[in-house]
C-alpha cells in the first residue's frame, strides 16, 4: 500500500509492539528506538516520513528529542506525534510549543493512531 517510513520511539517494548503491529499491518515501514538518544542515532541518514514518540523516557525524554528533531535540517519538517501517558494540558502545550503535530494519550486505540498518521503524512 505504502512504503512510508515511521520512526517509533518508546522505552516500553509492549507499546512499541502494539504500535508496531498496527503500523506494519497498515503497510508502513517501522524503525524502532527505545529513547530519544537512540532515535537520533538510528534516524541519521534515513528517510523518515513521520515520528511517533513517547514523552517520558530514560536517557533522552520525548520533548528534548522533539526539540532536537526540529533543530535538525533534514527532519525539521517531519511531522511528530507524541504518544504518552501524560494527559495534562500543560504537557500538551509544552509538546505543541516544541513542534509536535498531534498528542495521543495512552492507552490508545491503534486505529486512532493510524488515522492520525495517515492524516499527517498526507498533509
Amino acid at each position: 500500500m505504502t512504503s512510508k517510513r515511521i520512526l517509533l520511539v518508546d522505552d516500553s517494548a509492549s507499546v512499541r509492539k502494539v504500535a508496531g503491529i498496527a503500523l506494519t499491518s497498515a503497510g508502513y515501514n517501522v524503525l524502532e528506538a527505545a529513547n530519544g538518544q537512540e532515535a537520533l542515532s538510528k534516524m541519521t541518514g534515513e528517510k523518515i516520513h513521520l515520528i511517533i514518540s513517547d514523552v517520558n523516557m530514560p536517557v533522552m525524554d520525548g520533548i528534548t528529542f522533539l526539540k532536537e528533531v526540529k533543530r535538525h535540517p533534514s527532519y525539521k519538517f517531519t511531522p511528530v506525534i507524541m504518544l504518552t501517558t501524560e494527559a495534562g494540558e500543560d504537557k500538551k502545550q509544552e509538546g505543541r510549543a516544541a513542534g509536535a503535530k498531534a498528542w495521543i494519550v495512552k492507552p490508545f486505540q491503534p486505529q486512532n493512531m493510524l488515522d492520525a498518521v495517515s492524516k499527517l503524512i498526507l498533509a
Binding site: 516500553s12 499491518s25 492507552p107
Partner: protein
C-alpha cells in the same frame, strides 16, 4: 507506605531514640533496596510477558484479518454467484436443446409438405398415363381409319404409328414417375416417422434433463444457502474475535502505565534510602522526607499517580481522542 515502614521499623523517633539506632537505618535501607529490586524484577517480568502476549495477539489479529479478507464479506457471495452462473449456463444448454427440437419440428413439417407434393406428382403421373392411354386409343383409331383409306392413308398410318409409339413412351414415363414418386413418398414418410420419433425422444430427454437440472440446482441452492449462513456466522464470529483481541491489545497497554508507576516507586524508594540513617533528629528526618515527598510529585507521569498522591480516588483510564495542534 510510611505506616508500612513503621510496622517493620517503628517510627523515625523510635528509631533515633533506640539504642539499636545504629543498626536500624541499615536494615531500613536494605529493605528499601530489596523491595526496589523486587519491584523492578516484577516490572521486567511483566513487561516481557506483556510483550509476548502482545506479539501473539497481534499475530492472531493479523491471521484473522487475512481470513476475513479472503472470504470477502462472509456471505458466500462467491458460491452464490457460481451457483447463479451455473444455473444460467444450464438454462442456456436447455434452450439450445429446445432450439434443436424446434428445428427438427420445422424439418418434419417441410418433409410433410414434400410428401404432399409427391402425392400431387403421382396424381399428375396418373394423368399423364391416362393421357397416354387416350392418345394410344386415338392413334389406334387413326391407324384403323388410315387402313380404311388404303394407299392414300399410308402416310397417315405412319403418323398414327409414331403417335402410338409416343403414347407408349409417355405411359412408360408416367409409370416411372409414379413409381419414383411412390418411392420418394415412402422414403420421406419413413424419414418423417423417424424424425417424429426422434423429436418425441428429444422432447422427453429435454423434459427429463430439465427436471434433473432443476433438482440439482435446488439441492445446490439449498446447500449454498446453508453454507452461506455458516460462512456469515463464521465471518461474524471472526470479526467479533478480532475486535475482542484488538481490544485486548489496547488493554495490554496498562503494562506501560504500571511500568511507569513502578519505576517511579523504585526511583523514589532509592531516594528515600539513607533518609532513616541520617544522623539528624527525628524532626529533621521528617522534614527531609516531606521535601522528598514534595519533590516526588515532579516525577509523576500519570494522572493516577497525582490523584493517589493527593489522596483522591483514581478512575479507569479510557482511550481518548487524538489532539491535533
Amino acid at each position: 507506605m510510611q505506616r508500612f515502614f513503621n510496622q517493620f521499623f517503628g517510627s523515625a523517633a523510635e528509631r533515633t531514640d533506640s539504642s539499636a539506632a545504629a543498626a536500624a537505618p541499615s536494615a531500613y535501607d536494605e529493605a528499601l533496596r530489596i523491595w526496589s529490586a523486587q519491584i523492578e524484577t516484577s516490572r521486567q517480568h511483566m513487561e516481557e510477558a506483556v510483550v509476548e502476549l502482545t506479539t501473539r495477539f497481534g499475530g492472531i489479529v493479523g491471521r484473522l484479518d487475512s481470513a476475513l479478507l479472503s472470504d470477502g464479506h462472509g456471505d458466500g457471495d462467491g458460491i452464490a454467484t457460481d451457483a447463479k452462473q451455473g444455473q444460467q449456463d444450464l438454462v442456456q444448454v436447455i434452450n439450445a436443446l429446445k432450439a434443436i427440437q424446434r428445428s427438427r419440428q420445422a424439418l418434419a413439417e417441410d418433409i410433410r409438405s414434400v410428401v404432399m407434393y409427391t402425392t400431387e406428382l403421382r396424381q399428375m403421373a396418373d394423368e399423364v398415363g391416362m393421357i397416354a392411354f387416350k392418345t394410344n386409343m386415338l392413334a389406334l383409331n387413326a391407324a384403323i381409319e388410315a387402313a380404311h383409306a388404303g394407299e392414300s392413308g399410308r402416310g397417315f398410318a405412319v403418323v398414327a404409328h409414331e403417335v402410338r409409339a409416343l403414347s407408349d413412351a409417355s405411359r412408360q414415363t408416367g409409370k416411372m414417375i409414379t413409381e419414383k414418386a411412390g418411392m420418394i413418398s415412402e422414403t420421406l414418410g419413413r424419414i418423417a416417422d423417424s424424425n417424429e420419433s426422434i423429436a418425441l425422444e428429444d422432447n422427453q430427454a429435454i423434459l427429463n434433463s430439465e427436471a434433473k437440472i432443476s433438482a440439482v440446482l435446488d439441492r445446490f441452492s439449498n446447500r449454498t444457502a446453508v453454507m452461506s449462513e455458516a460462512m456469515q456466522a463464521a465471518h461474524q464470529q471472526s470479526t467479533e474475535i478480532k475486535e475482542e483481541v484488538a481490544g485486548s491489545l489496547v488493554q495490554l497497554q496498562f503494562q506501560d502505565r504500571v511500568s511507569q508507576i513502578l519505576s517511579q516507586v523504585c526511583s523514589s524508594m532509592q531516594q528515600f534510602q539513607g533518609n532513616a540513617s541520617a544522623p539528624d533528629s527525628a524532626a529533621s528526618q521528617d522534614d527531609l522526607a516531606r521535601r522528598r515527598l514534595e519533590k516526588m510529585t515532579e516525577t509523576y507521569t500519570t494522572d493516577e499517580q497525582r490523584r493517589i498522591h493527593e489522596g483522591l480516588e483514581t478512575k479507569a483510564v479510557e482511550p481518548q481522542a487524538v489532539t491535533f495542534f
